[in-house]
């Protein structure tokens, strides 16, 4: 793996240090999975050498949705309404399509109240990163079942959950999201690489990250706990990330032992083969592997699907190079002649 930090000492390729990517101190519970994810976001952005001012953070409402305050202080951010991050992000990112959108939501925020907006964001292939910090409960309202809680789960307040869980990756896949991955807050190395890949993808990158809620839902035998995850995680591949500017060595490409996918900006995601042969460019394969994981009771992690060439929402428009929000008023108001023509065309007498 090519580590920007090692290569450049403390300054990354953008001339910034890790501190430039920090946020305010977290007010989440100690040990909360969400905090680990924030750390990996900081690490990924730092190592990729992204300019924080070129990232815009979005979230909904929940513990997870609070976390954008805890990374990237120098980025704009919008803590929207519960379940409505997608619409705010979509509108906000049209303002300047040269910035990168980075959204953080929760399982309640996305799969309960936010189901509709999430699905439609995916359908539009809105180019942004969409992280779901998935703990199977509503953390901020103190531990009710969310829509991703597994059947049979017993929680202190609510008794047993009798519903089948929503699988966020499945949902993203059937609605044609162009990048779908599953991560685990207890597996930071893989997580960082997934975040890097997501940040480099041109299209909607959905990252469903199992992120235990240590306060309300971390029983060892439950799907969303650290222990269960650690014991049942099956990595689809050993994922590595090669930035456009880095040289790819022969060794990275040991033939037959890895798959690689080139993203639009020239970066390459290398997936070294582990147990299984897996082709992440086939949506149907992804459906199959998820079904298999469910049957085999494993936590499958890795890049499930990517289509680097899918048409994004921005591709459907013909937008200027200059950000829309910097256009001069003169570019916004048509001329007086244009109005005269309109008047004429309206059957003027």
């Amino acid at each position: 793996m090519v580590d920007a930090e090692i290569r450049t000492g403390n300054e990354n390729s953008a001339g910034l240090t890790r501190a430039d990517y920090r946020g305010a101190p977290s007010t989440l519970c100690q040990g909360c999975g969400h905090n680990s994810i924030s750390s990996q976001i900081v690490a990924a952005c730092y190592e990729l050498g992204l300019v924080p001012e070129k990232i815009v953070k979005f979230s909904g409402i929940g513990c997870s949705s609070k976390s954008p305050t805890y990374f990237l202080n120098r980025s704009f951010g919008f803590n929207a309404l519960h379940g409505r991050m997608p619409s705010i992000a979509l509108g906000g990112l049209f303002a300047d399509i040269t910035v990168k959108g980075l959204g953080v939501s929760g399982d309640g925020d996305t799969a309960s109240i936010g189901m509709g907006q999430f699905k439609h964001l995916a359908r539009r292939n809105m180019p942004m990163v969409y992280i779901v910090e998935n703990n199977g409960v509503y953390g901020l309202t103190k531990g009710q079942f969310s829509a991703t809680a597994e059947e049979g789960l017993l929680l202190k307040k609510q008794g047993i959950n009798t519903y089948l869980p929503v699988d966020i990756c499945l949902e993203a896949l059937v609605t044609n999201a162009s990048f779908v991955a599953r991560g685990f807050a207890g597996d930071p190395k893989q997580l960082k690489n997934l975040i890097k890949a997501a940040l480099s993808h041109d299209g909607l990158a959905v990252l469903d990250i199992i992120s235990p809620c240590v306060t309300f839902h971390n029983k060892e035998n439950s799907y969303h706990s650290y222990l269960w995850g650690k014991e049942h995680e099956v990595q689809l591949h050993d994922i590595e990330f090669v930035q456009a500017r880095d040289e790819i060595t022969i060794e990275d490409f040991e033939p037959g032992s890895s798959k690689e996918v080139s993203l639009h900006d020239g970066t390459v995601v290398l997936m070294k083969k582990l147990d299984k042969d897996y082709d992440p460019t086939n949506r149907y394969e992804a459906l199959r592997i998820l079904e298999e994981a469910e049957r085999e009771n494993t936590l499958i992690t890795g890049l499930l699907f990517v289509d680097p060439n899918a048409k994004t929402l921005f591709d459907r428009y013909s937008l200027p190079d200059e950000p829309l929000n910097r256009l001069e008023p003169s570019k916004l108001r048509p001329s007086i002649d244009a109005l005269e023509k309109i008047n004429q065309s309206l059957f003027m007498k």
Binding site: R74, P86, G116, P323, R326, L332, L346
Partner: protein, 614 residues
């Protein structure tokens, strides 16, 4: 029955000619394609210089239910609805019996000669029309038959009222964008029908049209098109919407005009984006996201969609995000009457959103004002950093009106207090080297904002609907909460100067009449009628909420005030009461909501009732 068959024919003929001052209702079945015929007639009258207005009363359905289209010709220029018909063109057998009742004595009925109905009136003139026969002779393709049938009445009316055929042709050419084939097809039927009428019908009614000079420099447009154009000339950059009657055509007009008007001449790229959202929650969310990002941004909706936007409007109010919401009002509560008009969302919008809110409303009172408020709304929203709700209605929005031509904005675009990199640096130099998104530096309650993409390392801030301090940082501090909410209140108080003032007409009367929006058409007509009866009134058309001090002056300086509005509960009157409770004792609520635009006649009656009580 042949030619004219009315027994009281002689009586009628004695009456004087009525020129350019009557009302025709076309009753048809919706989906039968009568719109072309009706708007062609309207355009024809317009082109003749006759003041004309058209009202389409249609069902919430696509095909097969009754629809009425009323054209009012008014020498004096009144454009309001009237209650009775002078002429009815009855194309729908299922409703003709009722329509006959609405014809004034001495009025006229045109009907297809094979339509069966019980004629209960001996005081009207009835003209049969051999529609089936004429169509048969015209050899149009079967799929066009229904549609072209309507051209028969155009031709017959032309003959009977004295409409110049060449003006009809001009209107058709306009309609078909100069495509010869359809114009000729239609003209052929019109010609034949007119010919037939000339030969077979004897004029025995008093109605005539004549060219006049009633609308020089005017145009024809509906309010939704005008609103869309106004928005485009206001520099709209982002629109998100979800289809709903009667607002859809506003967004659809944006779709229509933006490619032409908002493609950058240099780069060939588009400067205005439209997204059809999955619902209204998303539409307003996208619009607010874009407004936050620094785009002039809007959405349009009505009734149910408006209600769905409640939570987001509260966010924009408190996080101070500019966004324009066109609310083309229809009849509520609930799904209500989706294709009928009302002014029923006034109190709701005022208090929309939980907690203390207070939303700005603009009430366009005419089609050309829809254009004007189209661009002004953005200046206000960006200047005050808050949602602006433009309160149009179905009558204004969906009906085609004659209206003074659109006037180019007389003020430059006002983007309010925006800081880019250099502006920010200057500000930092001047103040304590820290940018505070919600810091009231100018004492007017309006704070400065930076926009997405601003690369200055101090530009970024974090927006939220939760409690925040001057630096946009999260806080639950009681004092800070109270202060920030009070600052916002101050912002609104100070901000009134950016809002269009009410318009007044003074007669030095002790009584006043107040209304908003499209209610002004019947109200202004009523004023004339009352004046003719020696009842004179002063008149104020309010154009915004919050209310200007001029409104209070008006209330104070009159002894009785009639507040005319199209809703059940007297919603405008309620806002006036809150503003000036001491004056409320003078208020007389003239309200009604039945889905139809108000009429001068009804208003006059209501006012007379009150006069009699005195």
């Amino acid at each position: 029955m042949t030619k004219t068959q009315n027994s009281s024919e002689q009586k009628l003929l004695k009456k004087q000619k009525i020129i350019n001052d009557f009302c025709i209702t076309f009753s048809t079945v919706n989906g039968s394609g009568s719109a072309t015929a009706n708007t062609t007639l309207m355009r024809t009258f317009f082109k003749m210089g006759i003041p004309v207005s058209g009202k389409n009363i249609f069902p919430s359905n696509i095909q097969g239910l009754p629809t009425w289209y009323t054209l009012r010709l008014s020498e004096k220029g009144y454009l309001a609805r009237v209650e009775e018909d002078d002429i009815v063109v009855a194309m729908n057998p299922s409703t003709i019996n009722k329509e006959i009742e609405y014809i004034v004595p001495g009025g006229v009925l045109f009907y297809p000669d094979d339509m069966k109905f019980a004629n209960t009136r001996d005081d009207i003139v009835c003209y049969p029309m051999p529609i089936r026969k004429i169509i048969k002779e015209s050899e149009v393709s079967p799929s066009l038959k229904d549609y072209i049938s309507n051209m028969v009445y155009v031709g017959i009316l032309a003959q009977m009222l004295g409409i110049p055929i060449d003006v009809i042709q001009e209107a058709l050419r306009f309609h078909f964008k100069n495509k010869e084939k359809p114009v000729n097809l239609n003209m052929d039927v019109i010609g034949k029908s007119s010919e037939w009428a000339k030969e077979n019908l004897k004029k025995s009614d008093p109605y005539y049209v004549e060219p006049m000079q009633g609308n020089e420099d005017w145009i024809m447009s509906d309010g939704n098109t005008a609103g869309a154009l106004g928005s485009i000339f206001g520099g709209v950059q982002f629109t998100a919407w979800y289809p709903i009657t009667p607002a859809s055509s506003l967004a659809e007009s944006l779709h229509e005009y933006i490619p032409e008007l908002r493609t950058d001449l240099v780069t060939g790229k588009q400067t205005s984006v439209i997204v059809q959202a999955e619902d209204e929650l998303a539409a307003i969310g996208m619009a607010i996201g874009a407004g936050w990002g620094g785009l002039r941004s809007m959405t349009s909706t009505s009734g149910p969609g408006l209600s769905l936007m409640t939570e987001f409007i509260g966010l924009a109010y408190y996080a101070e995000i500019p966004v324009v919401l066109w609310n083309v009002q229809r009849v509520g509560p609930s799904t209500g009457l989706p294709t009928r008009t009302a002014q029923g969302d006034i109190t709701f919008v005022k208090f929309m959103g939980h907690g203390d809110t207070d939303n700005i409303m603009l009430f366009p009172g005419s089609v050309n004002e829809c254009f004007e408020f189209g661009w002004k709304a953005f200046d206000i929203a960006e200047r005050l950093q808050t949602p602006v709700v433009v309160m149009s209605d179905l009558d204004l929005g969906m009906n085609e009106w004659m209206t003074p031509k659109f006037i180019y904005p007389d003020q430059p675009i006002d983007r309010g207090k925006i800081l880019w990199e250099e502006d920010l640096q200057k500000m930092l130099d001047k103040y304590q080297n820290e940018f505070g998104r919600y810091k009231d530096l100018d004492g007017d309650g309006i704070t400065y904002r930076t926009l997405v993409g601003n690369l200055h390392p101090k530009a970024a801030y974090f927006t939220r609907g939760t409690g925040h301090d001057e630096y946009a940082k999260y806080t639950e501090d009681p004092k800070i909460w109270e202060e920030s909410l009070m600052r916002i209140k101050r912002k609104f108080e100070n901000g009134k100067k950016y809002l269009p003032k009410p318009l007044t007409k003074t007669n030095n009367s002790k009584s006043g009449i107040i209304c908003v929006g499209s209610a002004s058409f019947p109200v202004e007509e009523a004023l004339d009628i009352l004046f003719a009866e020696n009842l004179s009134f002063d008149y104020m058309r309010i154009r915004t909420v919050p209310l200007h001090d001029e409104v209070i002056d008006f209330l104070q300086s009159h002894e009785r005030i009639f507040i005319v509005e199209l809703n059940r509960d007297g919603q405008l009157a309620q806002l006036l009461t809150l503003k000036a409770p001491d004056e409320a004792i003078k208020f007389r609520n003239i309200t009604k909501v039945d889905g139809l635009p108000l009429t001068a006649k009804w208003i006059v009656n209501e006012i007379r009732k009150d006069e009699e009580k005195k």
